[in-house]
């Protein structure tokens, strides 16, 4: 499952994977797993496409960072955890919320700033939470979620349970100082936290090679003796296998671990990004050769786990869920003016 761990991470994931030719190592999924992976990744893809559409229509404002291309990371990791485990991430967070089982209607309505949104319309794209689903945000400041996620794992250890914290960060955040402050404390206190670096190759418009003195981000914990590995983040089987291993490592009391997910975002950094910093061919190559959803789709068909017709049915179901969410988010009322003053303090 570990892919190209000694190769430069400066090139797009697709190129590296082609060199490594290790994709076959990923343990196979059974039918139920493949179908679950397909459906959940597709939900994120379609949801994000719809969000992009609503943004274009002016229904979603501000910043909107789409997760398209990276779906295998969060869906695969979610398949490796259990009830009570915590998830926290940065601002590219819609996929994480859906993967945690949050209601697409509530997420989309938050994007449109409506009262039925998860934060009553007061948080927006980057600030949504669901304690019930174990999702702790949704954080808009690059890297800030890393000490917070470390704190979630601290709470698990304090309470003496065996839950873990999945703390996601991007390749850009991997250069923030507070990440290393967190690494140090996590290792010092053997906190059950999995740092998942979603390396989608670009921190906004700056490639990893132009921003990072060392580009193998999985090794960023070496100074703290935190193990790490690079994972093919476009292959959900590889993600789940790495996730299983990392979760066991944490639950067994070994402290933190780093998974660098080599992935790729198809869209710009945010909706307003023309993506001039990378050639279109680079994006096309990943989309056609390494798309995480297409990989599952072709396996489903090849193994006879699904037919074109049955997949079409899933596609239709997913579209219906997303359309329903969009409709709700479009028609739901804006928050009451009185909401301006609520939730600043708890009584």
């Amino acid at each position: 499952m570990a892919v190209a761990s000694n190769k430069s991470a400066a090139q797009p994931a697709a190129v590296r994977r082609a060199d490594a030719e290790q994709a076959a190592e990923a343990p196979d999924f059974n039918q139920e797993q493949e179908l679950r992976a397909y459906r959940n990744m597709l939900l994120i893809r379609r949801f994000e496409e719809k969000a992009g559409q609503l943004y274009g229509m002016g229904l979603i404002g501000g910043f909107c960072h789409l997760y398209i291309g990276q779906e295998a990371v969060v869906v695969g990791m979610q398949m490796a955890i259990k009830e009570g485990d915590a998830v926290i991430t940065g601002y590219r967070d819609h996929g994480h919320m859906l993967a945690c089982g949050m209601d697409p209607k509530g997420v989309m309505a938050e994007l449109t700033g409506r009262r039925g949104g998860y934060s009553k319309g007061k948080g927006g794209s980057m600030h949504m939470f669901s304690v019930e689903k174990g999702f702790y945000g949704g954080h808009g400041i690059v890297g800030a979620q890393v000490p917070l996620g470390t704190g979630l794992s601290f709470a698990n250890r304090y309470r003496g349970n065996d839950n873990v914290s999945l703390t996601y960060l991007g390749d850009g955040a991997a250069n923030q100082g507070q990440v290393y402050e967190s690494f140090n404390m996590a290792k010092l206190w053997k906190l059950p936290v999995i740092y998942i670096i979603e390396n989608n190759q670009y921190g906004m418009g700056t490639s990893v090679a132009r921003a990072s003195a060392t580009t193998n981000l999985s090794q960023r914990g070496r100074s703290f003796d935190i193990p790490g590995e690079q994972v093919d983040g476009m292959d959900i089987r590889a993600v789940k296998a790495a996730g299983d291993k990392a979760v066991k490592w944490c639950r067994d009391g070994n402290g933190p671990i780093i998974l660098e997910m080599l992935t790729y975002r198809y869209r710009g950094h945010s909706m307003s990004d023309p993506a001039k910093y990378r050639p279109k061919e680079e994006v096309d190559k990943v989309r056609t050769e390494h798309d995480p959803i297409e990989q599952v789709r072709s396996r489903l068909l090849k193994k006879g786990f699904a037919t074109e017709d049955s997949l079409k049915k899933i596609d239709a179901q997913v579209r219906a869920v997303v359309n329903e969410a969009a409709e709700f988010a479009t028609n739901d009322a804006e928050p009451d003016a009185a909401e301006l003053w609520t939730d600043v303090y708890a009584e």
Partner: protein
């Protein structure tokens, strides 16, 4: 002439210490740089080195002596040719050894950094309540026994009591456990509650602040100690973006019940980066509560409230007040509600609004003013956010005059906020412009004379009060 070795100060605010150990005995030769003794305070231990050469002629303060005032002679060093016998005969420049035990610290002998701002704390218990106006809390039942304790002890007791009643409360910060607190505020907590709940961190403010907030996301109630609030600037993003805003951004779904506490405000002779008041900074932020107690009773009662509060609370303590003693009600569960000011001294002619360390200027000024027939009302704000503007307004309606006192900078300070509020809500009652006494708008200088000038003073408060009274 024999040379006196004086009790040294380990810090600018140290007034007394313990003579833990003598490394040399009478008759030993000493040369410059030799360690001759060990002294300790509630904060630190340090070795005393000889500066002069000669023979340790006489030990004036035996080892094991506690509470030796700074600058008390602790030994005599004889230069070559001098005879110890002259000392034993009492021929030396005799200084009564016992002076160290009960006399107030000889402040005048020190390079006193700011005499007016470090009031000699009452040493004897009887002197603990110098202002007769300092009333116990109205919520304290009649006849409640009062015990004298320092602000430091009151804070420690508040944490210990809350930790006993709620297992989710824990203390985390630099030097809070093994070292017992950089300022000894967490003294004894490790021993009672163990390493699970009293946690030393690396020097990593940004990191452990975020970690504490994350733990609060998960329902724990951390008390995060900043060694001083100067270092909290490293963590400002977490304090504001993660702690203050999460409840709102989550539509009320998720809260952050956490206390950030530690010394704030100018200390003595530590210069610009370690000497500043952040009251106004935090007061600016919706979602934070900001508390700044003056007395030990308030320190205890307010800290207990802050720990129970479901919101993030910035609890601003003051290094210079830590060692001062006050009467504290002896009750099983003494809690002071957040957001309520206290009339520390009732008066009719002018309202002086202060909090934390600035209360010391305000109360002294009120004494001075009384001599001139001006009866000042002193309001101890106690909580800066939410601010008890109502109590200020009520007082203004009686006095018609307001002077605010703060150690922080003037522009956009807490005093400016009070002035604006009074103007908005009590303009018709004002007989004079609201006047601010504040720290000067400069980085804190190191030099003793300049530092004194940069800080507010009792004289400035007196002058301001007289000015608004047209006297």
């Amino acid at each position: 002439m024999p040379i006196e070795v004086l009790m040294p100060a380990l810090s600018p605010t140290m007034e007394k210490g313990n003579l833990a150990k003598w490394h040399k005995k009478e008759g030993d030769a000493v040369k410059s740089g030799d360690v001759i003794a060990e002294i300790e305070t509630d904060k630190a231990t340090m070795e005393v080195e000889a500066v002069d050469e000669g023979t340790l002629g006489k030990i004036l303060v035996p080892e094991g002596t506690n509470d030796v005032a700074v600058n008390t002679p602790i030994a005599m060093i004889l230069a070559e040719g001098e005879d110890a016998a002259t000392l034993k005969d009492g021929g030396a420049p005799a200084r009564p050894q016992k002076a160290a035990e009960s006399a107030p610290p000889a402040r005048a002998e020190q390079p006193a950094p700011a005499v007016n701002r470090a009031p000699a704390p009452p040493i004897a218990p009887v002197a603990a309540a110098p202002e007769p106006q300092r009333q116990p809390e109205p919520e304290v039942p009649e006849g409640t026994e009062m015990v004298t304790m320092t602000v430091r002890e009151a804070l420690r007791d508040a944490m210990a009591e809350e930790m006993r009643r709620d297992d989710t409360v824990f203390v985390i910060g630099e030097e809070v456990a093994e070292y017992q607190g950089a300022y000894k505020v967490t003294q004894g907590l490790l021993q009672e509650f163990g390493a699970r709940r009293v946690i030393d961190t690396p020097i990593t403010e940004h990191g452990f602040t975020g970690l504490g907030i994350g733990a609060a996301f998960a329902g724990l109630k951390p008390i995060v100690e900043f060694m001083t609030f100067n270092f909290a600037m490293q963590a400002m993003d977490q304090l504001i973006n993660s702690a203050a805003k999460t409840r709102y951004m989550s539509g009320g779904q998720m809260g952050v019940s956490v206390v950030f506490r530690g010394p704030n405000g100018p200390a003595a002779r530590v210069a610009a980066q370690h000497s500043q008041d952040f009251s106004a900074w935090y007061s600016h932020i919706p979602g934070l509560k900001v508390v700044a107690p003056y007395s030990a009773a308030d320190a205890k009662g307010l800290l207990k409230s802050a720990i129970r509060d479901p919101n993030p609370v910035i609890f601003l303590e003051n290094e210079i007040l830590y060692g001062q003693s006050f009467p504290v009600p002896k009750l099983d569960d003494y809690v002071v509600p957040l957001g309520k000011a206290r009339i520390a001294r009732a008066g009719t002619d002018v309202t002086i609004v202060a909090w934390s360390m600035s209360m010391t200027y305000a109360l002294k000024a009120a004494d001075e003013l009384a001599k001139d027939g001006i009866n000042a009302e002193v309001i101890d704000l106690r909580t800066l956010k939410p601010m008890d503007t109502a109590s200020i307004i009520e007082s203004v309606k009686k006095t018609g005059r307001v002077v605010t006192v703060e150690e922080g900078w003037r522009q956009s300070g807490v005093g400016a906020e009070i002035a604006a509020s009074v103007t908005e809500h009590a303009f018709d009652w004002l007989d004079a412009p609201v006047t601010r006494v504040s720290g000067k708008d400069v980085p804190m200088p190191y030099a003793a004379n300049l530092e004194k000038l940069a800080l507010p003073s009792v004289a400035e408060v007196v002058a301001a009060a007289k000015a608004v009274c047209y006297r």
